[in-house]
């Protein structure tokens, strides 16, 4: 039973990280109908930024809490700046182009950013400083739930609540929903649609950056390539839940995380991806719009 609970917690921890990245995919898709393939790289850049800041600060002997907060803030700002810039450079000029063009542009951006970090940093795995200590009060259950799992879960839960609040109740959140539902009409009620698209990219990038920080300190090492697999997995999770749907992205991520965790625990870690992607295929066959997605209807 302990083993089951352990797998369960490790599954939802994974799922929580996927969710932080998947939200960026799904929000951008919801608002401009684009799969932003460079999103995984934004997450990787977030991990690198927090790595650099955390390493420098720990050399200067800052207290742990300050290191965590400062490197988190730095990662969020830096990744958001990249997300914003990528949209302005690679997607905005293609706003009225056929759908395939921005998609190709996104893949190009992804490759560009990967290689840019490869050249600027190194191709080696870098040891990420341990930012989350083992809490003494977690001692009795440490064999089931680690301290970093706990922190990841709490952080993600708080972020989800904030995001839900922003989207449901704030002016900018309402404008985002309106733009996603009907872009022409959003313009006609006076929403600056370009601004809303930028805000969406910034929020998505900030979430990915936090995900990058959390997972890097959880796993303990990073390199320029981590964005690729994380991006693919989070994208899978977003499709699983129904791309364009925010609750769907979270649900899809949790389902994917749990599937992988149980597959690793009860079968073999070699097969975790097989199970993850088989699940995706099954869901797409039986419910093509994803768990919470709506079938796309076109008015004639």
């Amino acid at each position: 039973m302990d083993y089951f609970i352990e797998l369960f917690f490790s599954g939802i921890t994974r799922g929580a990280i996927y969710a932080l990245i998947a939200l960026g995919y799904t929000m951008v898709y919801g608002i401009i109908g684009l799969i932003n393939f460079a999103h995984g790289e934004i997450y990787m850049i977030g991990a690198f930024t927090s790595f650099i800041v955390a390493t420098v600060l720990s050399i200067y002997g800052f207290p742990l809490l300050a290191i965590v907060l400062l490197s988190g803030v730095a990662a969020v700002i830096w990744s958001s700046a990249y997300g914003y810039t990528v949209e302005k450079i690679a997607y905005k000029p293609l706003r009225h182009a056929p759908r395939l063009s921005p998609l190709i542009s996104a893949i190009g951006m992804s490759i560009f950013l990967q290689n840019y970090v490869l050249l600027a940093q190194t191709s080696d795995f870098l040891p990420f400083p341990e930012l989350i200590p083992d809490f003494p009060f977690m001692e009795p259950v440490a064999h089931i739930v680690g301290s970093s799992d706990l922190i990841i879960l709490i952080t993600t839960a708080i972020i989800m609540l904030i995001l839900t609040f922003i989207i449901k109740f704030t002016r900018v959140g309402k404008a985002m929903r309106a733009t996603a539902q009907d872009r022409t009409m959003a313009m006609l009620v006076g929403i600056n649609v370009n601004q809303i698209i930028s805000v969406t990219f910034i929020i998505g990038s900030a979430l990915a950056a936090i995900g990058g920080l959390l997972i890097a300190s959880h796993i303990g090492q990073i390199n320029f390539y981590i964005g690729f697999l994380a991006g693919i997995k989070a994208f899978t999770a977003a499709v699983l839940g129904g791309i364009g749907s925010i609750p769907g992205a979270v649900l899809g991520s949790l389902v994917l995380g749990l599937t992988e965790s149980f597959a690793t625990g009860y079968v073999s870690s070699d097969y975790e991806d097989v199970f993850a992607f088989s699940l995706l295929v099954l869901i797409l066959i039986f419910k093509p719009s994803g768990l919470l997605g709506k079938a796309e209807t076109k008015k004639v």
Partner: protein
């Protein structure tokens, strides 16, 4: 108040309006009638800045607006109820109305305006918590007009408000258009295929054919014109 001079606009290689000239004075109800594909919707979209004019000039209160972004044009006082109503399907009736007041921050006055549109269309008050997508066609048209009124426009652009509605509802909508024009002194630019009904509430009318204004005049003159009777009124 609004003046279009030699306006051209279109999509891709297609020029949907080739040479549109018209003028609307404050307080008037003006109608633009024409067949499918004549360029009615494009004319409205170019005024709102969604399909920017390629050449020509659009003046609003003596200011050129053809280069301005849609949100700036809304801020200046031009609101549009587009063809097909474009209700935000997953926002409630109340939230749809709030979106209409997106550029305003005077909470008290917004609340008063919501009461006002609820008095124009009592059915919307009953449906306020319902998603916009679940309303009937007539209710959606009422909501779309109310949403536009929430911005307190000086000039209201209406694109085929009667499309797809039952005759009784059409009558009600046209009554309200007249009422809005009278009570708030809102200038109205009404695009219609239903030429008969439109000309009966309008002061003046323009006829658009193949992207050009073919004819204009007072509603009475247009109703008497034998070409119009044949082509648009079915007499």
């Amino acid at each position: 108040m609004l003046r279009l001079e030699n306006v051209q606009a279109g999509y891709g290689n297609i020029l949907a309006i080739k040479d549109v000239n018209l003028e609307i004075n404050k307080g008037e109800i003006i109608t633009l009638i024409g067949a499918n594909g004549a360029g009615k919707t494009t004319t409205l979209m170019s005024i709102s800045g969604v399909v920017p004019a390629r050449s020509g000039k659009i003046f609003f209160n003596n200011q050129e607006i053809q280069q301005k972004e849609p949100d700036v044009i809304v801020r200046m006082g031009i609101c549009q109820v587009p063809e097909g109503r474009h209700i935000f399907p997953e926002l409630t009736v109340r939230e749809n109305l709030d979106m209409g007041a997106f550029l305003r921050s005077d909470k008290k006055e917004i609340k008063r305006d919501i009461e006002y549109v609820f008095s124009l269309f009592p059915i919307l008050a009953e449906r306020r918590g319902q998603d916009g997508g679940t309303l009937s066609g007539g209710e959606q048209q009422m909501l779309a007009m109310s949403r536009a009124l929430m911005a307190r426009p000086q000039l209201l652009l209406l694109d085929e408000p009667s499309m797809g509605l039952a005759p009784l509802v059409i009558k009600q909508i046209f009554e309200i258009i007249k009422q809005i024009n009278k009570e708030n002194n809102t200038t109205i630019f009404l695009v219609e295929q239903n030429a008969n009904q439109a000309l009966h509430i309008a002061d003046r009318g323009y006829v658009i054919e193949n992207g050009k204004i073919a004819l204009s005049g007072t509603s009475e003159d247009l109703l008497k014109n034998s070409d119009i009777q044949k082509a648009y009124l079915g007499i």
